[in-house]
Amino acid sequence: MLSKQRARYAYFLILPALALITLLKLVPTVEAVLVSMQQQSMMRPNPEAFVGFAHYARALFEEEIFWGSLRRSAVWTLGSVAGSYIVGLSLALLLDREIRGRTAFRALLLVPWVIPDVATALLWKWLYGDQVGIINFLLVKFGLVTKPILFLADPALAMASVILVQVWKLYPVMFVVLLAALQNVPRELHEAAEIDGAGAWQRFRFVTFPFIRPTSVIITLLGAIWTFQNFDLVYLLTGGGPADATEVLPTLVFKKGFWALEIGYATAIGMLMLLCLVALSVAYLYAYRVAGQDKEGAAR
């Protein structure tokens, strides 16, 4: 009885937050579903004409650009998350040791995280420049290349170049979280493994990694969700070009919605994108639950 009362009280307490979330999240989502089934266009004064699933059919079956953008979004997300995880983990392993200036390094490594996306994009655009960029200047100066590398102008390199920027932007999050996880790995296990003759790689694989695996799964899934919906970096660095080589779903939605003014169609693509994000979120929740069980198991 008491617990029921307490539960009611708890629900009462979260009611304002729930109402706010419903208002700010659920209502726009329902509105978006409706808009995705309407012929909303700035080119017409009667925006509410119902078209059912026509926009979805157009995206999925009539225009190649959706599938191309989805494919590129997958590459962009996987590349960025994998890259930032490797960099973040490497730095976390390095700074988990007792080295001089560890605190200063930890603080410095967070800098990319606090720089706004717009500033990051402008900064890297300048760094990548073929004529005025410092990267090409140094590469040519030291004889590593004979002519500037077209980081953003070559369709074969553009995606890798924007992924590198996202890796730079995302690794601090990975680094901070993984460093925290590493600090929970019992030192005595390492010492025991070392006495048993385990090498550095074996110690990482059989001692460290099992402990940080739950955290790794969660942070990489979160990173995937953030990256998948990131718009600013790609749009500002390449505008989706050259020749659509970096056109990802968020830039496609923006173009269709705010340049082509086809709000209904853009919203339908947005909803399809949402489905992808829901899949990632479900995976995240599942991983979170499994991670919790793993931790409980480890604690026992």
Partner: protein
């Protein structure tokens, strides 16, 4: 409610129908006072009248947002308010990249500004969404007063004519030009080119990689500016997007000319190799920067490059010239370049519509925007002939050359057709920047790129 909760007795003067007044005594509580206050505020805001009894107007600006232009604009607005004490104009700058999101949210929220200035086809697009107030009355006034005859050319205002109504008024002109280094041409014994062949030969001759000088710098990225230069060559080849009746001919009747223009332009990169290799990622700034650094013999640039040269490379100014618009395969009839007559427009549902039109009438007058032209030389140009030959222009050689060599030939995307809302989408979606970008990176041949772009445009027109 207790006695303590109630407000002290208030005397309320109520106006009777005859305009006289009678005094009524009564007590009102906090709730009534709050309701009255909110009601009053709502009445004031919805009627466009502020607390000082002035008609309050909101003016969104898209192209006047650099610090120097904002300063000049402030002065102009202060002059207006001095002359019209019953009207208060509040300027809200809107970032160029956020124009559509901002305007579309405003349309959806029924919160458009009373007045706005933005890109070429905005008033037509908003008219298509039934949001614009026709400007025919002001056009008629201009016609009667002779002001219409003072406008640079008919296309400047006729481009806003759609379904027999004018939805915007031109207030300034934004041009695209080819800048060149006089000293580099002289060193090679080359005269400023007048036509395509001469231009091509000059760009090849002045290309000097050892000296770090490119023959030509221009933007070929997937950005809006790219299509502006393609458009100029399109006209010069005898091509266009629309015919004079507003029908789409980009990949049909005009296909050969448009492919020819695209080939000519992209050949500078792919065949003659006289540009930086990275032009496929260039937006407006990169070619400007190379030219200001003295690393390009020719540069396709906006009028704003004059300001940059004056500020960042004053030593270079004397060595720079502006080419007369080139003559291409279409001969003198196609001697045109890109220029955008930018519009001001008024929201149909503005509560202060009359005051908004008063502002527009006052704002678009000869001589009115001179402080802005002084603030950023070359960036914007007047639309009135009488504003051209001012001392400001005559004293600045580059402005004078732009006025003589470029301004008279400036025209817009829709030419020779008149306004169509679809042109805003064609521009916005960068439908004819894509062919340049695709050909430069080797993803498509010019014929294919033009055909694909046409199909996209056709889909839009069909819709």
């Amino acid at each position: 409610m207790t006695q303590d909760d109630e407000m002290p007795a208030l005397e309320i003067q109520a106006l009777d129908g005859s305009g006289g007044s009678e005094t009524r005594h009564g007590r009102i509580g906090r709730r009534e006072a709050l309701t009255l206050g909110l009601g009053g505020l709502f009445a004031l805001s919805s009627s466009g009248v502020n607390a000082q009894g002035q008609t309050a107007l909101t003016f969104w600006s898209v192209r006047l947002n650099t610090p120097e232009l904002q300063l000049a604009l402030k002065g102009i607005l202060a002059d207006f308010e001095k002359a019209h004490p019953t009207i208060k104009v509040t300027n809200e700058p809107v970032a160029g990249a956020l124009v559509y999101p901002k305007f579309m949210a405003a349309v959806r929220g029924n919160a458009m500004p009373d007045i706005a200035e933005a890109y070429s086809y905005h008033p037509l697009q908003f008219a298509a969404a039934d949001q614009m107030e026709p400007m025919d009355d002001i056009i008629e006034e201009w016609r009667a007063s002779g002001q219409l005859a003072n406008v640079t050319n008919d296309f400047a205002y006729k481009k806003f004519l759609w379904r027999d109504k004018y939805w915007g008024l031109p207030y300034n002109l934004d041009v695209r030009a080819i800048y060149y280094r006089k000293d580099l041409l002289e060193a090679k014994g080359i005269k400023p080119p007048k036509n395509w062949d001469e231009f091509q030969a000059a760009a090849i001759a002045t290309n000097d990689p050892k000296a770090g000088v490119f023959g030509l710098a221009f933007p070929a990225g997937n950005f809006h500016i790219t299509q502006h230069y393609y458009m100029a060559f399109m006209f010069q080849a005898g091509g266009s997007i629309l015919d004079k009746d507003g029908n789409l001919i980009f990949g049909t009747k005009a296909k050969d000319a448009n492919v020819r223009a695209l080939t000519y332009l992209t050949d500078f990169v792919t065949k003659h190799k006289v540009t930086p290799e990275g032009v496929a990622a260039y937006n407006t700034d990169e070619p400007h920067t190379l030219f200001v650094q003295g690393r390009a013999a020719f540069c396709m640039g906006t009028g704003g490059l004059i300001s940059r040269l004056m500020k960042e490379a004053p030593n270079l100014v004397d060595k720079v010239g502006i080419l007369e618009v080139l003559e291409g395969p279409a001969g003198p009839a196609g001697k045109l370049t890109a220029g955008f007559y930018n519009p001001m427009f008024v929201w149909k549902h503005s509560p202060g519509k009359a005051a908004a039109k008063t502002f527009v009438r006052w704002f678009i007058q000869p001589g009115r925007m001179e402080p802005m032209y002084r603030a950023a030389p070359g960036q914007h140009w007047p639309i009135f002939k009488s504003d051209f030959n001012t001392a400001r222009v005559q004293e600045n050689r580059l402005l004078k050359e732009m006025l003589t060599n470029v301004v008279p030939y400036a025209t817009d995307f829709a030419y020779p057709g008149l306004g169509r809302p679809e042109m805003g989408v064609i521009d916005g979606e960068k439908m004819f920047a894509a062919p340049v970008n695709e050909v430069v990176v080797g993803a498509k041949k010019p014929e294919q790129a033009v055909a694909d772009a046409h199909n996209k445009m056709a889909q839009l027109f069909r819709a």
